[in-house]
Symmetry: C2
DNA sequence: CGATTCTTTGAAAACAGTCAATCTGTGTGG
DNA sequence: CCACACAGATTGACTGTTTTCAAAGAATCG
């Protein structure tokens, strides 16, 4: 049941069978329906969520009332609002399922205790945070280097299956332009 | 000499005097002149750099030949290229001093050994990476929510001393528009 | 004080957004 | 099984923000 997560752990660190048994009681598994909320704007984020399978988005609502997607998370990614969780502040973001998903929940309140019992997890999260941080800077690199059209072409080349998986208006939001503009790009070629 | 870094450690973790002594031989201190390079595009990044004092930028050169700044690091921030370091790939980025700076160098090659001897550092880096990742996502939030002019107003309100500290063309690059446009914004008001 | 580097200004052009209308597809209830 | 409703996608005309290019004007450093 937790195997996608344990497989992911083993990609970065080594855990003994005993350690895995220690970890299990600290985790919860949960199935969320399409459009179900995991966190709503204004709530304090209390957990880190691992996507065993499915697709989750994190977004906020702009002053003009449009939804702006900040992150997508699919199979084997974690998603949370670290700002809200670390400072116990109301979140600016809403985290919502884009399709039916199975998620594994690690609650903030027991995280420190778990890390004390299994210090290797501290290392695991350090490494995946390095990756996530690098990916985020890479995204800024893309935003700044390329036009909207170029970003779309790159992205749909790099993640063709993902482009199929989510509605176009969400993709447009994630890439930083309007759904109308995406539609115009697509009509220009392929 | 290493005190800015050890003070920073103590903000997030507790280190004994013995642990501090263990750590010291793993660090190097270095003074870099204005415009001196710490990493050049094409090299493999071999260390993580802590800015004891000064200001450092990380940038790349676009196809059109303009420099695009991805990150600034000032006192008490780390800077590196995790993608290059983790995968031992040539870096896309150049890391360069923007003013004379004192930096503390933690080499990748000895990092794992150091973390084994002082596991609390693993925790320290996990926490500051959470902050850095959150800050990076927050920057994407800003890029997507606000016009260039709004981003400039927010930024110079939030970091007035920093705006004084770097040339305007670098600020423009960091905020994602041209120096000419920044000049026009400033002429409009304040 | 001379040379380079940085900033300003203006006109024309490109890129993307807005708004409103129309089209398409899909799922649900009758 | 059909009809309808609704969410999502498309299209076109118009607007606005930011870029580009070129040239001139400050500022800084040796």
């Amino acid at each position: 049941m937790f195997s996608p997560l344990f497989q992911h752990f083993q990609k970065y660190i080594s855990l003994t069978a005993e350690e895995e048994e220690i970890i299990k009681p600290y985790l919860q598994i949960s199935t969320v329906a399409n459009k179900e909320y995991i966190l709503q704007q204004g709530q304090i984020c209390q957990a880190n969520y691992f996507i065993a399978n499915g697709c989750i988005r994190k977004y906020f609502t702009t002053d003009q009332g449009t939804e702006q997607i900040i992150q997508f998370a699919i199979d084997n990614w974690w998603i949370t609002d670290y700002t809200s969780m670390d400072f116990q502040q109301p979140s600016l973001y809403t985290i919502q399922a884009v399709e039916e998903s199975v998620i594994i929940v690690l609650k903030r309140s027991i995280e420190d205790e778990l890390f004390r019992k299994v210090p290797a997890l501290e290392r695991y999260f350090r490494i995946i945070l390095q990756r996530a941080f690098a990916a985020s800077l890479n995204r800024i690199h893309y935003i700044y280097s390329f036009s909207g059209e170029e970003r779309y072409r790159h992205f749909s080349n790099a993640f063709p299956e993902f482009v199929q998986r989510v509605p176009q208006y969400m993709l447009a939001s994630y890439l930083g332009f309007t759904p109308e503009f995406l539609s115009k790009i697509r009509s220009r070629k392929g």
